[in-house]
């Protein structure tokens, strides 16, 4: 009897062990999380992650790794970014305790005023193409802050293009959804389709022309792209297609290097991409939310109060962004005001905690950040100022051409060209209902993001794009060209198109520091949703102490000024949805883990153990790997 009982216990034990084993296996099979103490790379594709991780293992730093991954991602995710596009990165140099912002977003031709652009009709034409910045941005980062040579860091990208790689489920789905764009260009069609139909998951995608282009860049540096045969092919193709691009445009394209825009959220320093990118909006949102105890109210997936406050915050920050943000070389952007905590407090007091106000999101009014623009936002941040950088506010630069600034450090807080404050505010208030082209809701995640940290704590957050998936659809020498013109506003002076100007962009690569050490490296694709998604990720980490995977897995939501819906992902409780409806929000519900809400790649650092935890977004193919 006793031995039978003992046998039952043993059997039950074995069964429990097996169940735990199965559960554990499933846990690791489904979670895209990794940990390590030497380095961590999180990108939207396993091969791009592998490229960066191998560079770290070979002794490269985070900048070497990010350049390797960024060139590689343009090959294995050719729809979302590449040498025909642009982007931005925020770098944290841990030994120097310095932060750097490299802006390599695409910019308009010097002759852009010679074309009439219609964003609905011309998005997939040569008219949509702006001067690509990726090559100069990545090579500049490598030359200034990296330790390896071009050949080393570009080798994986060239190999993936030359030998081919297996199309994964994410790319297969994107090819299906966008096959009509891929058919519009004969070179693109020859790469992405087979007998007129999209290539499928499991097919091997070989890009010989792209491999050749990358080899030219590896051999000749920026001159291999902005000069020589590629420049000739670009200028010929764009001008023959009705667009404008000159040899001077290409030769004079230089990435801008400066300091990131900075803020502080509950004791954590936030360093993010300044205008024309949207890190300032992320910081504005965090500064507004700092006035609420979100932890006490509960996570937004279970607390309508938290979600409501955050949604009302989003309405306001997006309105301020639409009203004031543009390329700071072409207008006065009140960036210090926007990231001022006093301004944020005023915006917070504008929120009705009980109901959506204004009920119509489009009636949301901008604040007046100019009032706070003299506040030194830097004093509110614990991030140490880089003494080598000069703030430009006192510089008389009326006569400075943008090209002159290209090699200089520039100040992402302020602008070069002064416009009278009152004029801008008057215009902004008058034009509160501006429908910007870049504010139309594109569905897909577009764009791509990667987060990398090395053994010394140097970190890079990088986001780059072609505009929308497949950009303009035009392919030259194996790479797709961006459709950046669509990011300019056609109905507003702010962010209107001008020669040599960069359009406004939602991309928001961000690094969070605690006591001058990296705590979170984060960013996401997702068109207009990027800003709200990055804010939610930060809130999940700081306010709710979620693990890296939980930060990424938590349901998301989004709303802004020019769209009357509060977009809510599956996973937000029904009780919260009902309560939000009672507060006056129009809810649009989505399934779980919907690509609409981005594809974040993030790294969290455990300050106690100095362990890096990476999490790739399940909404999009990708992987984090560390060692």
């Amino acid at each position: 009897m006793r031995s039978r009982h003992f046998k039952n216990i043993i059997e039950a034990g074995i069964l429990t062990f097996l169940l735990i084993l199965i559960y554990s296996f499933n846990l690791y099979a489904t979670d895209n999380i990794a940990s390590g103490k030497q380095g961590m790379v999180a990108t939207a594709h396993p091969l791009a992650t592998e490229a960066g991780l191998n560079i770290l293992k070979q002794g490269g730093n985070a900048i070497d790794a990010v350049v390797a991954s960024a060139f590689a991602i343009g090959v294995v995710e050719p729809d979302a970014s590449g040498v025909g596009g642009g982007g931005a990165m925020v770098i944290w140099l841990n030994d120097k305790k310095e932060s750097v912002y490299i802006n390599y977003y695409q910019k308009a031709s010097e002759k852009v005023d010679k074309i009439n652009y219609n964003s609905e009709l011309d998005r997939h034409t040569a008219k949509a193409v702006l001067i690509p910045g990726t090559v100069d941005g990545l090579l500049t980062a490598l030359e200034r802050y990296g330790t390896m040579d071009r050949q080393q860091v570009m080798e994986p990208a060239i190999r993936y293009a030359r030998d081919g790689f297996e199309i994964d489920g994410t790319l297969a789905g994107i090819l299906l959804d966008n096959y009509q764009i891929t058919l519009e260009d004969s070179e693109s069609a020859s790469i992405f389709t087979e007998e007129g139909f999209p290539r499928m998951e499991g097919d091997i995608l070989v890009q010989e022309n792209l491999a050749h282009t990358l080899e030219l860049i590896a051999e000749n540096g920026r001159d291999g792209f902005y000069g020589g045969s590629i420049a000739k092919d670009l200028v010929t193709r764009i001008n023959n297609g009705g667009g404008v691009m000159t040899f001077a445009d290409l030769q004079n394209y230089y990435a801008q290097i400066g300091v990131p825009v900075q803020g502080n959220y509950r004791g954590y320093d936030v360093i993010a991409a300044g205008p024309p990118q949207s890190g300032a909006s992320v910081i504005e949102a965090l500064h507004i939310l700092e006035n609420e105890n979100l932890t006490k109210k509960g996570h937004y997936s279970e607390s309508a109060q938290t979600l409501h406050i955050m949604a009302e915050t989003f309405k306001r920050i997006y309105t301020d962004r639409f009203t004031f943000m543009e390329d700071p070389l072409f207008g006065e952007v009140p960036i210090r005001g926007i990231v001022s905590k006093d301004f944020a407090l005023g915006r917070y007091h504008d929120i009705n905690p009980y109901r959506a106000e204004p009920r119509k999101y489009s009636d949301t009014k901008p604040g007046n950040p100019f009032k706070y623009n003299r506040t030194s936002a830097r004093t509110e941040s614990g991030v140490k100022e880089n003494k080598d950088y000069q703030w430009s506010d006192d510089v008389d630069d009326e006569n400075s051409g943008s090209e002159d600034w290209s090699e200089d450090m520039f100040d992402s807080w302020g602008s070069r060209k002064k416009i009278k404050t009152k004029q801008v505010l008057k215009k902004a208030v008058k034009d509160t209902i501006i429908v910007d082209e870049d504010d139309y809701e594109e569905y897909d995640g577009h764009t791509t993001h990667m987060s990398i940290i090395d053994k010394d704590g140097n970190a890079v957050s990088l986001t780059q794009t072609l505009g929308t998936f497949f950009g303009s659809g035009i392919m030259v020498d194996g790479f797709l060209l961006n459709c950046g013109m669509s990011n300019f506003s056609s109905t507003s002076e702010v962010n209107s198109v001008a020669p040599n100007k960069q359009p406004r962009s939602s991309i928001s690569p961000t690094i969070i520091l605690k006591n001058d050490e990296p705590y979170m490296v984060v960013g996401s694709p997702g068109a207009g949703r990027i800003i709200s998604t990055v804010v939610e990720l930060i809130v999940n980490g700081i306010d709710f102490s979620y693990s890296a995977q939980a930060v990424n897995d938590a349901p998301r939501f989004y709303c802004q000024k020019f769209d009357e819906y509060l977009h809510v992902e599956g996973g937000i409780s029904e009780g919260v949805i009902k309560s939000l409806k009672r507060k006056g929000h129009n809810i649009k519900q989505y399934g779980n883990l919907d690509l609409f809400f981005g594809g974040a790649q993030l790294i969290l650092v455990d300050p106690r153990t100095q362990t890096y935890y990476g999490a790739a977004d399940k909404r999009r193919g990708g992987i984090a790997e560390g060692y």
Partner: protein, 184 residues
């Protein structure tokens, strides 16, 4: 008795041969064809391209309703969920399911045969895509499926349970030939 059995057997064999001959002579399905989506994926346009290449008289209507069935002799439905497609069409997933159900019921009422064509492979399987596949499969008289979408044998199982023909093809482009044969 033996002669009687022989005669009956001959009659049965003759009738079988006759019926087979008639069936072989007649196409399985007839044009004009209405091609619609179930789930609003862009796959429906690709099936439209395949039908055009096969010279099958067709109309592609992403959000077809009963009204679009006028004069139609075969309904091809392409299941595959796409949030992007739903967003572009301005409909919710629930609205789409209701539309598809109503369309299939109307076709059934009007004796219009339904053909299921699934070409999206894994990209159009599982989750909400499977919900649309199940709805369409209830009414399908034949199926053409790109093999990758049948890795878990879902379509094989459906074909077996419903006793309907299933044609598996390796690639999207290969779906054109069996589609053509259906109408030949």
């Amino acid at each position: 008795m033996r002669k009687k059995l022989m005669k009956t057997a001959l009659v049965v064999i003759s009738l079988t041969i006759f019926a087979t001959t008639v069936l072989l002579a007649e196409p399985l399905f007839q044009a004009p064809v209405l091609i619609s989506s179930a789930g609003q994926s862009a796959d429906v346009k690709l099936v439209g391209m395949l039908a055009k290449r096969a010279q099958i008289e067709n109309i592609v209507e992403l959000i077809a309703t009963e009204k679009n069935l006028d004069g139609i002799k075969t309904l091809i439905v392409v299941p595959g969920f796409s949030s992007k497609g739903l967003g572009a069409a301005g409909v919710s997933a629930a609205d789409e399911i209701n539309r598809v159900k109503a369309l299939l019921a109307a076709a059934n009422e009007q004796n219009i045969p339904v053909v299921l064509v699934h070409i999206g492979g894994n990209a159009r399987r599982y989750g909400q895509s499977d919900q649309f596949i199940e709805e369409v499969a209830q009414y399908a008289k034949a199926m053409i499926v790109v093999e990758q979408g049948n890795e878990d044998q879902l379509f094989t199982k459906i074909a077996s349970e419903k006793n309907i023909p299933l044609t598996l093809v390796p690639k999207i482009v290969a779906a054109g030939e069996p589609l053509k044969n259906f109408f030949k």
